[in-house]
Symmetry: C2
């Protein structure tokens, strides 16, 4: 069995995506926690920009969570999360990238990155205009998630895929911060409740960091 | 031969990445131009968020440029841009994602998106603090490009890959706007000169939009 070591920050959407991939694929992985607001020489030795997540595997240090997920999909093929033909793969990748780029730019970066990363890194500085924009933008994005979930069984089609895990990872860190207005879209909420009750999600629901307590409902399966 | 139609905006890094992929793979593609600041019902019919690039192929509309690039890599295998083994693929994807996420967040979004997309969409509104931050951030990123180019033959290793095309696509729209301080890193400049002189780049160098003239040196191979 290949030894896998994942360097991660518990309340990070990109790290969480990979923890969900490991759990869904039933792979053993050693988790090494880091705090992104601290200078971290161990991490700088593994990654040019000193950022999590990084996967250590067979003497390589692999970065960028979607690249790592693709690596795991190619290497560990028993449980498939990336689609079974070229069209499914295109749709799963489209949605995974949608959440990691457009959703990240319009929501995650304006809320999570401001509230958690920048605040702790820059001693308290938060851009309140960014927070307001993020709180506004998340509604259209939640409607999109709800629309996909109501048209399909899972976000990219019939099966749970990397698209669901990527979306859930982003929403889970926003939910930790109490920033998801679930009441605005019942379909999105039902989809998230299904993901949240999977065994792969348990580790995430137990996360807690001393700098920021989770929102009250964060670990509840019925929220 | 499969008919391929790419909906694109000429001065868009994600659209340009795909035009470079098509040209390097020597695939015929019909280009359909759009203006991202205009409401566009044709595009809304192909893409939930109405954004370019979108590839029409065999009755499917594929979105998110990296997902489209992966599709093209799987489908058209004669010229390889994605690596020949699992480790090369991981490194190429890592860098492609690095430019489409971190570089985009810290540079492209602060310069290109502000100056071109937001200015034209929101009638003149530009965030000058964002511009200053982008102009500052691009220096470290250019040093990273220069470091990769000096350590390796191309950014991800021995061969030209999607990593080079992604980086060059971002830098090319910034260069159109005159926002790349090439004089700060000779290795980055030498790498870009090599890419810029490839036949695949010719189409990009001929682009011009009426709303914004290109910088003086934009189309020069010797810059």
């Amino acid at each position: 069995m290949t030894a896998l070591r994942l360097h991660h920050f518990p309340i990070c959407p990109y790290s969480r995506k990979l923890r969900l991939v490991f759990a869904e694929k039933r792979l053993d992985v050693t988790l090494v926690p880091h705090e992104p607001w601290r200078r971290d020489d161990d991490l700088m030795a593994l990654s040019a920009w000193g950022e999590v997540p990084v996967l250590e595997v067979e003497g390589h240090a692999l970065g960028e969570s979607l690249a790592v997920a693709e690596f795991l999909e190619e290497r560990f093929t028993e449980v498939k999360l990336g689609g079974k033909d070229i069209w499914e793969r295109a749709e799963i990748r489209r949605l995974a990238l949608h959440f990691d780029t457009k959703f990240a730019r319009e929501v995650t970066d304006l809320l999570w990155r401001q509230k958690l990363i920048y605040r702790l890194k820059r001693s308290g500085t938060v851009n309140t205009a960014a927070l307001r924009a993020g709180q506004e933008n998340i509604r259209a994005h939640l409607d999109y998630v709800g629309w996909l979930a109501s048209e399909r069984n899972w976000l990219a089609g019939d099966h749970l895929s990397l698209a669901d895990l990527t979306a859930a990872a982003h929403l889970s860190v926003l939910d930790y911060l109490g920033d998801v207005p679930w009441e605005t879209n019942a379909d999105a909420k039902e989809w998230y409740a299904r993901i949240k009750s999977r065994p792969s999600f348990r580790g995430l629901l137990g996360d807690k960091i001393p700098q920021q307590a989770p929102a009250d409902h964060y670990a509840d399966i019925d929220f």
